[in-house]
Symmetry: D2
Subunit: 154 residues, 4 copies
Amino acid sequence: MEKPYYIGVIGAGDCSDSTYKHARNLGFEIGKKGWTLICGGLGGVMEGAARGCIEAGGITVGILPGLLKDSANPYIRIPLPTGLGEGRNLLVVRASDILVSIAGGYGTLSEIALALKMNKPVIGLETWKNIQGIQYVSDPSEAIERVTEFVSSG
Amino acid sequence: MEKPYYIGVIGAGDCSDSTYKHARNLGFEIGKKGWTLICGGLGGVMEGAARGCIEAGGITVGILPGLLKDSANPYIRIPLPTGLGEGRNLLVVRASDILVSIAGGYGTLSEIALALKMNKPVIGLETWKNIQGIQYVSDPSEAIERVTEFVSSG
Amino acid sequence: MEKPYYIGVIGAGDCSDSTYKHARNLGFEIGKKGWTLICGGLGGVMEGAARGCIEAGGITVGILPGLLKDSANPYIRIPLPTGLGEGRNLLVVRASDILVSIAGGYGTLSEIALALKMNKPVIGLETWKNIQGIQYVSDPSEAIERVTEFVSSG
Amino acid sequence: MEKPYYIGVIGAGDCSDSTYKHARNLGFEIGKKGWTLICGGLGGVMEGAARGCIEAGGITVGILPGLLKDSANPYIRIPLPTGLGEGRNLLVVRASDILVSIAGGYGTLSEIALALKMNKPVIGLETWKNIQGIQYVSDPSEAIERVTEFVSSG
C-alpha cells in the first residue's frame, strides 16, 4: 500500500478567530484530498486545522508535548503523548512531508527552522516574515495549491 | 470524544512462525475490541500484530526508528518516522496505556523496563523471563483477558 | 558546590574567518570568567568558541548530533554523542542558562526559537535579524557584557 | 587530542550502604585511570560513583532527567539537564563506551538493555540476574579489570 502524504500544520496554541478560520479551511482541504494531518495536537491553529480535517472526513495525528492523550484537542483522532515538551516539535517536523505554518510564536519558528534545515518545504501564511526559504502565500487555497504541486511532483 | 485505549505490542523485528501467529491473533482481538495498536512499525512481532489488527478493521500506529514512512510494514496505517533510532522505544511506551510483550530481544527488554518504570502494566507471552512486574500469560487469549480487565477497571 | 553558569554559543558549522574570530574572542572571555561553554561540538562557530574557551583555560561541552565522540572539534573537552541528529539542538538549549548566537543558518534559528520559547535570554551577534526577543549586540565584548549582567542578576 | 574513555555507571537513585560503597570504590578507580564517568547524575549508585571519581581527581558527567542543574548530586562536575525524563537513559548509554551496572531497578534495566542492543559491553555487579550478554563480576576491582581489558583492546 502506498503511504499517504503527511501535511504538517504548525502555529500557535492560541490564535485569533480569523487565523483559526484559515486553519480550519486549510484542514478541510487536507482532509478532502485524503492526506493525513500532522500537528502538535493542542489548541489554536492546531485545533482549527484538525477540526477542518475531521469535518472533511480526514485523519488527524497530534504529537503532544505532555504525557496524556486527553491533552489533545477534540478533533485529534490519533493523539500521541510524548512527554518531551518542546522536543515534540522535532517529531512533528520529522513526521511531515511538507509543512504549512499559520501565524505562530517561537515554538512555530523552531519548527519552521527545523523543517528548512531538513530541506522540507514550508508554506507560510501570515507567519514569521522574512525567513528565506519559506514559500509565502496569502490565503489557505493558495497554500493548498502549493501542497498539491508538491504532492504531484513527489 | 473519549480517547480510545492504546495497546502497545512489543517484540523483535524477526520472529518464528509460531510467534508471528501469536502476534497476529493478539492483534486481531485488539482490532475487534476497537482499541488502537501501538508498535514499533517494523517486521516480526510488530508486523504480525499490525496485520491481525488491520484484518479485524482496527487502527495501527507504527513509531519508526528511521526517517522514512516506507520502512513501516504494510499493515501500519499511521507510520511515524522519528529518526531517533532506539530512542523511539521510549515513545512506544509513552504512547501506550498497557503493553503486551511477545518474545523479543534487547530492544523489547528496554521497552518492558521503561514501561514498568512508568508503572504501566506489561503482559508477557513467551518473553523475557523472571522480570518482576511482568504479568506472564500462556497464550494470546489470556493476554487479551488481562488487557480487557485493565481497560474495564480504567 | 555552586553550579557554574553554562553559556551556550550557537552558530553554523561553517563560517567566515571574521565570524570565527568573533566566536574565538567570545569563547576566550567565557573561559576567563570561569563559565562553562555549551555548544553543538562541530566546526565553524562552535569550534571558534571552543578554541577560545580552551585557550583561556575553560571547560567546553559539545553536544553532538552523531554517535561518535571523534566527530567533535579538537577543542571540546566533554564531547557528548547523542545520535539524535537535529534533536540535539534541543539539548544544547536545555543545558544552557543563556545563549549567544553568532551568524548561523536554520539549525541555529531553531535553537534561537527554542531558547526564546523557554524564556532563556538570547544575545545575537551578526545573526538572524528582526527576531523579536533577541538582544542584538555589535561585537563579542558587548555580548560578554550582556552575559555578565545576566549572571550578576541571576 | 585523543578523546578519553567514557565509563557509564548505572544503578538506582536509592541504594544500600554496601552498594554505595561499591559504587564509590568503582568511581575512585575510574577517576584514577583518567577515564570520564558518565551517569544519570542523581543519588544512590550515581552519587557513590561520582563521589569516588571526584575523590580520585576525575571528571564526572551527569545526564539529568529534569530541567535543573541543581538536581545533580554534589559530585557531578558537568551536570546536563535534559528535561527528557526517562528519555535521558538513552543518552547515558549513547555517551558511554562501556557500562558498569550496580544493583538497580527498572530504569537501570532499560539502560542495560539499550546498551546490549547497541553492542556496548555491560559489566554487572549485584545487578539484574540472568540477562544474557551481561559480564557478571563479584566486586568493583573485578569490574575495573574488565573495563581495563576493554580499554586496552579498543
